[in-house]
Subunit: 675 residues, 2 copies
């Protein structure tokens, strides 16, 4: 345990920890890929937490938006410098170091390393890389990735910015032809970067060749002034992301040289001849990776919220359960357990799913390098759907955690609003969730067609061959196997129903394919959700039955996995039972199992969040502290509020006093107030 | 129409309006209690919107927390002054005037008139009112209501602040005996008020007599300095409510005279003798009223969010439905309709329910004045449950609206985050929602016991006598009557199931009543939710079948009411079908009806939000503007961001420049950037 975790602990929390039936350390190792990696993580976290630079920073919640930007800029520049000095080269090292330094304080220079540099490396020609990479790597050039426009988000083909080649001068003319074509939302664009990679419709010889990427200078590298023809700025305050200068950009016929189009795949020759890329599917890669990573991010956000809410629920006492008895820990109320324990199970489920999808991404990528593109479609469908599924679950879950903390959850002192506003954009960015679910549905419809034609599907989707006339095998012992089968049955049924409805609309009602698709789309979304849900349950079941854990850890994870599955059935009961798959008795068994599983989890609830091993600095929460001294922390938080710098604010003399009745003399006033 | 609503309208929106099948004006009158009241509302809104004072205020989203407080203080003092000058005495007038002036900008002096004055009037003795009311009415005394403590919220009996009577000096000693006993959260407490009404445990002659209310001076009436023994301040930044100085207050043996206990009901005599109040149930009143009002507030928040999301959905175009076709209005996507139309129906349902509960409150109150207390219990149960039901629906719904606006919904330009953070505390304040649902459940369990003993229940709960063996009468025409019966069946079944489970735990498993209650509490919450849901459906059905609307209005409201009921069945399908109440075929009928109702609503969607008649100033949203010119508005919003006051921020020279590589001469840098 890191030193920062050892302190005088609230006795209620200490007691919770002593009741755990498993070794928390073992589970932490299981979550963070072993002892060595866990210790590395803690070493990096301690380095960050004890850095005097960070200790001197004004707390995020006390900053104005302008200060939030400045603080984050300062912090992230410092982090970048330290990462270099410390020689932190792996994703693992950089992630945990940065998280502990600036958790949920989005970087104003982050797009440079996460999008600008990788795109330059992947899509730049050898000459371009030689010319621009050194400048970008030492941050002479600081860049971002400008895709989204005022009028277009997820639908990339609809982007309106134009890049028109002028063979006379051998330049591209970058232009925003309409109001809606201005770039809007790219991170770091408003004030920080001096370059961007911009997506624009390529026109040459009078023909449009679709979206291509260009290197575009935005600001003078010396003075940082915006260049002629470049109108740009910050897009203003948002729900969160105050630290980030998401920007707008309007271009008036800005000329860039021929070699500023990224030309590894597509090319434009000097005379304006367009040369197609060899394979368009290769660009799937980075999008898929980001979506896979978002699954893990969602788990992380949700497990942080669970850590805060569950520790607080163990410390908070409210109302006696029996009259005259002591006030109960709120974690002992069934309704509180029902709010939080399924979310805890979800956080674990998504953690394992995130690791699983990342691993599959790596496998498929190495297959691609060997020229095997077979699995690209499946991976794409999987990552799209799981991105949507996990961000929705996470977003919903964080708010449940917040409200489960009562009024205090609403204060920034809880840390929960900050987690929420940082995570909820995941439902929208990198592909709007509903659109993502429909992409997965498109893949499922293809699978269904194969099933209908008698084909046996390979891999995970093979469950779609399930015989729908079978009934549930579930009995009082509620096995993982019967639970998983229920999920497979439900998803198969929903895929079939959606497909049949769509076919009916085309064949019987005479609708076009597109109309039928749209008129079935909500059922398609539901089918995708059921499919993703099944994948998550399957992954969780696979993990707990893998035999890699010690007995105690396996036992508690099995309870958690069952809780995840059982709760999902109760939550979406209609989808499971409308064809009579479960008998009424089986429904009762599942519902009763929900209550008994919650009791099973109860003694381990705090230990299960402890296992995520978040340092207090990451949670940044008065309620989620490891030591459970929440009330003292809330009091300190309140006292430090910037509004309290003076007992009497200037606003008193300016506004309050003049409005008050003056029917009384000062002497009389004095008498009343001094009572 | 107000002048501010007539402008060049986006052609997509103009077309939507021309397609409406009903007269929007008629529906507006129906929502706002007739033509005269509607016109009054508009007159007040226009007065507010055109006031030069408001036009000069810095926008809320651009203010720091400290500025938000100051702006709101200034604004609300001005509003109070204008309300006096304009002679606005009715709740109606004050509400609409204030809403248009400072929508969702919570007042730093609001608790004075909403809680301090009414409590003084209701609970003060005649002498106390004579002494303190004039001072409070002319705002020499500005007060708040200090109930919630750091350690106790909804559980009022658990409050720890003490008021100990000292007969020698004839004073009460107000004290915070523990850390957790400090007041925490009361609005306006931190910096603005100089008095409060404080809830404390009364001790006299060595005995505790429970919670009583006291008048407590906090600050010097002249200098506004906090008084000796009074430690207080702002509790710091929160998710929202930045304009409000929710405060903390820690008391060290502060003495107040005997006449500072509010003595209309309970009394303490000079010698310390305690005199009980005649009837404890009388204090239910104001809590019940506030909860009834919250139902209406929830409807208002949700209908604002729907107005923004639906107008934007009519203007936003994204992706073609058929390849090569024009990009579709996103309101034409079934998935978008499925997100928003049921919420629109919910906003209407809650609007009517809010009016209904308020009316019942008024009836019951006048019965109470006549000494008839029969309906207090039912009203209390109803208002508690509906408060929870409506705030949960509203909170969930606003976020769905926000995310249905894609990325732009996340910007404060959309107005949606502001509505959300202002409304979501409603789930917690004035009684935490889960606790509220359980209070309703307690009433339902009493009703169930009566049903079991063969009693016929009167009034709304009479449906609990429903014969559970009956099956649904639903056929292809999906009548309101069959829908309502389905809700009654489901709620009755769930009340029965919860009661039976609880009895089983006591009788068979030998649990105490309290244990059994706790172990059944989640099912009790579900039963209460089903009960409240039924009440809302019933109210909506009663309204649309009341015969007070013209044919076209009645037709569209009937579609909306059916959509509300049908969507609820699909959403909670498991609860409706687990006992076989619906056949598989009926489930298909209901599901298909959902899609056809959405198509029925489609042409009227924009007109239905127009009918809520929100001026743009109330929505404060680039996306929800009446004229639909959203992109120009977003661009203006971005340009006005405080970060854009300078092209090059000082942070460039301070942080960005020093970190950049210096391998290049200025001349070389210049060359690159000027490309």
């Amino acid at each position: 345990m890191a030193a920062s975790r050892k302190r005088n602990v609230n006795p209620d929390l200490a007691k919770e920890r002593s009741k755990a039936t498993f070794d928390v350390e073992e589970l932490t190792y299981a979550l963070y890929l072993g002892k060595e990696m866990t210790e590395r993580k803690r070493y990096l976290e301690d380095l960050a937490i004890n850095d005097p630079f960070i200790k001197g920073c004004k707390p995020w919640a006390f900053c104005s938006r302008e200060e939030q930007y400045e603080m984050a800029l300062k912090k992230h520049i410092y982090i970048a410098k330290r990462i270099k000095e410390l020689g932190l080269t792996t994703d693992w090292d950089q992630f945990f170091y940065t998280e502990a330094m600036a958790c949920h304080e989005n970087s104003p220079i982050g797009l440079h390393s996460s999008m600008f540099l990788p795109t330059l490396r992947k899509q730049g020609s050898e000459e371009q890389k030689k010319k621009f990479l050194p400048l970008a790597e030492n941050m002479t050039i600081i860049g971002t990735y400008a895709q989204t426009e005022l009028g277009h988000g997820t639908f990339i083909r609809g982007l309106e910015t134009t890049a028109t080649y002028d063979p006379k001068s051998q330049e591209f003319i970058l232009h925003s032809p309409t109001l809606t074509s201005m770039k809007y939302w790219p991170g770091n664009l408003g004030k920080t970067v001096n370059f961007c990679i911009i997506m624009a419709q390529l026109y040459t010889k009078g023909q449009c060749h679709g979206i291509h990427t260009f290197l575009l200078p935005l600001r003078d590298l010396e003075t940082h002034k915006s260049l002629p023809g470049v109108e740009l700025g910050d897009i203003g305050p948002k729900f969160g992301y105050g630290t980030n200068d998401n920007g707008y950009l309007r271009l008036s016929n800005v000329r860039i040289p021929l070699d500023h189009m990224l030309m590894r795949y597509s090319k434009v020759l000097k005379d304006g001849t367009y040369v197609k890329p060899p394979n368009t599917r290769l660009s799937y890669g980075s999008m898929t990776l980001i979506r896979a990573i978002i699954v893990g991010d969602s788990s992380r956000g949700l497990s942080q919220a669970c850590t805060i809410a569950l520790r607080y629920s163990a410390v908070r006492r409210q109302t006696e359960i029996s009259p005259g008895g002591p006030e109960a820990q709120i974690i002992d109320y069934q309704t509180q357990q029902h709010k939080l324990f399924p979310l805890l199970a979800t956080a674990y489920a998504l953690h394992f799913t995130g690791q699983n999808v990342y691993m599959i991404y790596m496998q498929v990528t190495s297959q691609i390098e060997e020229g095997n593109l077979d699995q690209i479609g499946e991976l794409h469908a999987l990552s799209a759907g799981l991105k949507a599924f996990s961000t929705w679950e996470c977003t919903k879950g964080i708010e449940v955690c917040r409200m489960a903390c009562g009024g205090h959850g609403y204060s920034h002192a809880s840390g929960l609003p900050k987690i929420y506003v940082d995570l909820t954009p995941g439902c929208t960015y990198e592909g709007e969730n509903t659109v993502m679910m429909l992409q997965t549905a498109r893949y499922l419809m293809k699978c269904y067609a194969k099933v209908e034609s008698g084909e046996k599907l390979p891999g995970f989707v093979s469950y779609l061959n399930t015989d729908l006339s079978a009934k549930s095998c579930l009995t009082a012992d509620v096995t993982l196997d019967c639970l998983l089968q229920a999920y497979e049955h439900r998803a198969t049924r929903m895929v079939h129903v959606a497909a049949k409805n769509m076919n009916r609309r085309v064949m019987v009602e005479g609708q076009s394919q597109q109309q039928a698709w749209n008129n079935t789309s909500q059922q398609l979304v539901w089918a995708s959700r059921a499919h993703c849900h099944t994948y998550v349950v399957r992954t969780f079941v696979d993990m707990v039955t893998s035999g890699v854990y010690d007995n105690q850890v396996q036992e508690v994870l099995t309870s958690l996995c069952k809780l995840y599955a059982v709760h999902g059935i109760v939550e979406y009961l209609g989808e499971f039972i409308q064809d009579g798959y479960f008998s009424t008795k089986q429904v009762d068994i599942v519902t009763d199992k929900l209550w008994s599983l919650m009791q099973e989890i109860r003694p381990n609830a705090v230990a299960l969040v402890d296992a995520f091993d978040y340092p207090d600095a990451v949670l940044d929460s008065c309620l989620g502290r490891y030591d459970g001294n929440v009330y003292q922390a809330l009091y300190e938080y309140a006292k430090s509020s910037p509004l309290n710098q003076k007992d009497v604010l200037d606003t008193y003399e300016k506004y309050v006093k003049p409005m008050r009745g003056d029917n009384f003399s000062s002497a009389e006033l004095l008498k009343i107030s001094k009572l």
